[in-house]
């Protein structure tokens, strides 16, 4: 066991799979010699060789297209898209190709690729370094979408994603890279040091996709979250004094529907939290599922807390970011309504 922040944990995952399987390789913009703009691939080229971790041209469509071709050949490529905002130029490759190759070829070809990408706000990245695009991937049949919330899960989920034979979008909450950010941007920064989930084993281990974690047990309301918002949700619960159950979904496809229905059946109330803008966000799907499966247990309407339906505005980072105050207000509403 070692103490790791999320960057180190991800690096350790990649190091372990490169060592374990010569059919894995990494490429992406600036990931080679330099080790990536967030340092996630630091040292991997030096350790594993030039062809195992190398720089790609600035062409997200090209990166994902070639990864699919390599995957179809039989490799297990792990590619980095520098910011999740820049996956969009590759959207057709993901939607029309990676997601359908297995289905349309009747299993003759498939795309065992992992697309890693930092997402989310809280770093004053402005409109194109802050977005949370998970819902648009969740909508595409044939893609899996994974979002860790701590170093231990990040490593285990990344290894599990790489071992998957189907394409996985692996979204890394960049605001959690260095510490468990809870939305209180005006307080002293916390690092991962001393955090239980920062105890990360060396070597290979997996955290299965599609298995949610109950971060905090509670009796009165279920709070569903993933990524950065897990920590925001936890802070909100503690500050509100409400006995809420916090569920970290870990992956939104596959989705741990059993964990969700079990919790809401128990509590009878549900608040959904994500950073992405609200309309058409993944919260809409969660809300529909809870309504369909737990309607007769619900004591009150389901609440959604999300980013506003605007682009991510630079100067208004903290007006946009759905911080603890907005979560507390929603928890209260659902308790009182």
């Amino acid at each position: 066991m070692a103490q790791m922040n999320m960057i180190q944990a991800l690096n350790s995952a990649l190091d372990a799979v490169l060592a374990d399987d010569p059919k894995t390789l990494i490429f992406g913009e600036d990931v080679g010699y330099f080790g990536g703009v967030f340092r996630v691939t630091d040292g991997l080229q030096a350790k594993h060789g030039l062809t195992r971790c190398f720089d790609a041209p600035i062409s997200e469509g090209g990166i994902i297209a070639t990864a699919i071709g390599m995957g179809a050949y039989g490799l297990r490529p792990v590619v980095e898209i520098q910011f999740a905002d820049y996956i969009l130029p590759a959207f057709d490759q993901l939607v029309s190709e990676a997601a359908r190759l297995r289905y349309r070829s009747n299993g003759e070809f498939w795309a065992p690729i992992t697309v890693r990408s930092p997402y989310g706000g809280g770093i004053f990245g402005g409109q194109t370094h802050s977005q949370s695009p998970e819902a648009i991937f969740a909508h595409i049949t044939g893609l899996k979408t994974v979002i860790p919330s701590n170093p231990y899960d990040a490593k285990g989920l990344l290894i599990a994603s790489i071992l998957e034979d189907d394409p996985v979008i692996f979204l890394e909450p960049k605001r959690l890279y260095n510490g468990p950010f809870d939305g209180h941007h005006d307080r002293k920064l916390r690092t991962w040091a001393g955090h239980a989930s920062a105890e990360v084993p060396e070597g290979l281990y997996t955290v299965p996709l599609g298995k949610a974690a109950i971060v905090r047990e509670g009796a009165d309301v279920t709070l569903l979250a993933y990524g950065t918002m897990v920590h925001v949700g936890l802070a909100a619960i503690e500050e509100s004094g409400i006995d809420a159950e916090l569920i970290d979904l870990r992956s939104i496809v596959p989705l741990d529907i059993d964990a969700i229905t079990a919790s809401v059946t128990k509590t009878g109330r549900c608040v959904i939290l994500h950073e992405a803008s609200r309309f058409g966000g993944f919260g809409g799907e969660l809300s529909a599922l809870v309504q369909e499966r737990c309607f007769y247990c619900l004591k009150n309407p389901i609440e959604r807390v999300a980013g506003w339906d605007t682009p991510y505005p630079h100067a208004f980072e903290w007006d946009y970011f759905p911080g603890p105050a907005r979560v507390i207000a929603a928890l209260r509403r659902t308790m009182e309504a």
Partner: protein
């Protein structure tokens, strides 16, 4: 026995990494004046040597030589020098402002100032450029108020873009400067579309698109070239080849075997390779391409060969991936020094006047910064939060109206 060749995967690597001796032997640089200047209406098929030459006017002694040299008004050159120095002084100051916590992010164009400045001064006031973040000199050369640039960089209450955009991603329609965005390459096709619209309307305006050499790998680049060629769009498509794209050298963008200018050949477009640190060469090449565009001869691809002296941005430390002394080995020199030397050689400038100008421009930036500081730096001042909800659509829809209410304004 198997005598087939075993395949191997080629991964390009730069010529020097930190701790090694920098070299630019791989950059082919013909002498100033050596590359021919075809007639402005020459046919593309007769110009396929140009992408492998280099349009250069200023020689090592600061003289203007060769077929691309022309009589230039010294006052025009002094204005160019002034705008380049102004750009450099401004950027240095804003870089420091970032270090002082006054903004979240900044980028410099040190060593590349000639491109944005010379093209801004060469094209007409109503032409439109589709910039990259590396051509802030375009605005400065056109007299855009520096205080407004700083207000944008600070995202403060006087920010012309209302706090919505990342620092330096300006928009200034009146100055022929199209809205910037953080995703690279995606406006290159807009330049072509703008030019097609101008042609459709039987107008006289042309467009200029910028793209970094790293970004030529994006589909946007190739799509834009195709459309520009097919519709003979009145557009200049400029690749600023500053050798680096964050940590990746130009070989990762495909420069190991050919030049970026030579990309033009496959599309049937004229391609010029130009000394981007030579103010006079930038002007001459831009005039040539603009004349073609304005006379229905269509688009030109221009590669400006230059060097990114600074880090990619305030988030970058270039000593992590290239030799720290690489900038001083760059063979095409400093655009400011080269134009200054030329003006002095003409008897139109002096070291004293240069120093005086430098002091004056430093003071002008200081004054502008004081004015912006008085409004407030990032975090001290911002536009009304109402602005966050404005401008999504022309008319706000119910979602934004409800959310604004929920937010409490």
């Amino acid at each position: 026995m198997d005598d087939r060749v075993e395949l191997s995967l080629h991964i390009p690597e730069p010529f020097a990494r930190p701790g090694e001796t920098p070299t630019f032997d791989h950059v082919d640089i013909p002498a100033a004046g050596a590359t021919r200047r075809p007639a402005v209406d020459a046919a593309e098929v007769d110009m396929r040597d140009l992408p492998y030459g280099m349009v250069r006017v200023l020689d090592a002694d600061g003289r203007a030589v060769g077929p691309w040299a022309s009589q230039m008004d010294p006052e025009f050159l002094r204005r160019g020098l002034r705008a380049m120095v102004q750009t450099r002084v401004f950027e240095d100051r804003m870089f420091r402002a970032h270090r002082q916590g006054k903004t979240s992010f900044f980028m410099k164009s040190t060593g590349e100032e000639a491109i944005g400045v010379a093209q801004s001064m060469t094209l007409a006031a109503d032409d439109m450029c589709f910039p990259t973040y590396r051509v802030q000199g375009w605005l400065i050369a056109r007299g855009y108020p520096i205080v407004d640039m700083i207000n944008q960089i600070y995202s403060n209450a006087s920010d012309p873009l209302k706090g919505r955009q990342l620092p330096i991603l300006y928009s200034a329609r009146e100055y022929g400067f199209y809205s910037l965005s953080g995703n690279v390459g995606s406006r290159f096709g807009h330049a072509v579309g703008w030019a097609m619209a101008s042609a459709y309307m039987k107008d006289h305006r042309i467009a200029l698109g910028y793209i970094g050499e790293g970004t030529t790998a994006e589909g946007d680049f190739h799509e834009a070239l195709t459309f520009a060629a097919v519709y003979r769009a009145p557009v200049i498509l400029a690749v600023t080849n500053n050798q680096w794209a964050i940590s990746t050298f130009s070989g990762i963008a495909g420069a190991e075997q050919t030049t970026f200018a030579a990309r033009a050949i496959g599309y049937g477009l004229p391609g010029l390779r130009v000394d981007g640190n030579d103010f006079l060469a930038v002007v001459a090449a831009t005039e040539w391409a603009a004349t073609r565009a304005r006379t229905n001869l269509g688009a030109t691809l221009i590669e400006f060969v230059t060097y990114r002296v600074s880090g990619h941005s305030t988030s970058d430390d270039p000593t992590k991936y290239r030799p720290s002394d690489e900038p001083v080995h760059w063979p095409l020199g400093d655009p400011v020094e080269r134009l200054k030397q030329h003006l002095i050689a003409l008897g139109e400038w002096s070291d004293e006047r240069h120093e005086q100008m430098q002091a004056e421009l430093t003071e002008a930036v200081r004054t502008a910064q004081r004015e912006a500081d008085a409004v407030g730096a990032l975090g001290q001042s911002k536009p009304s939060a109402r602005e966050m909800f404005e401008g999504v659509f022309k008319e706000p829809d119910w979602r934004v109206i409800e959310q604004r209410r929920e937010f409490g304004i």
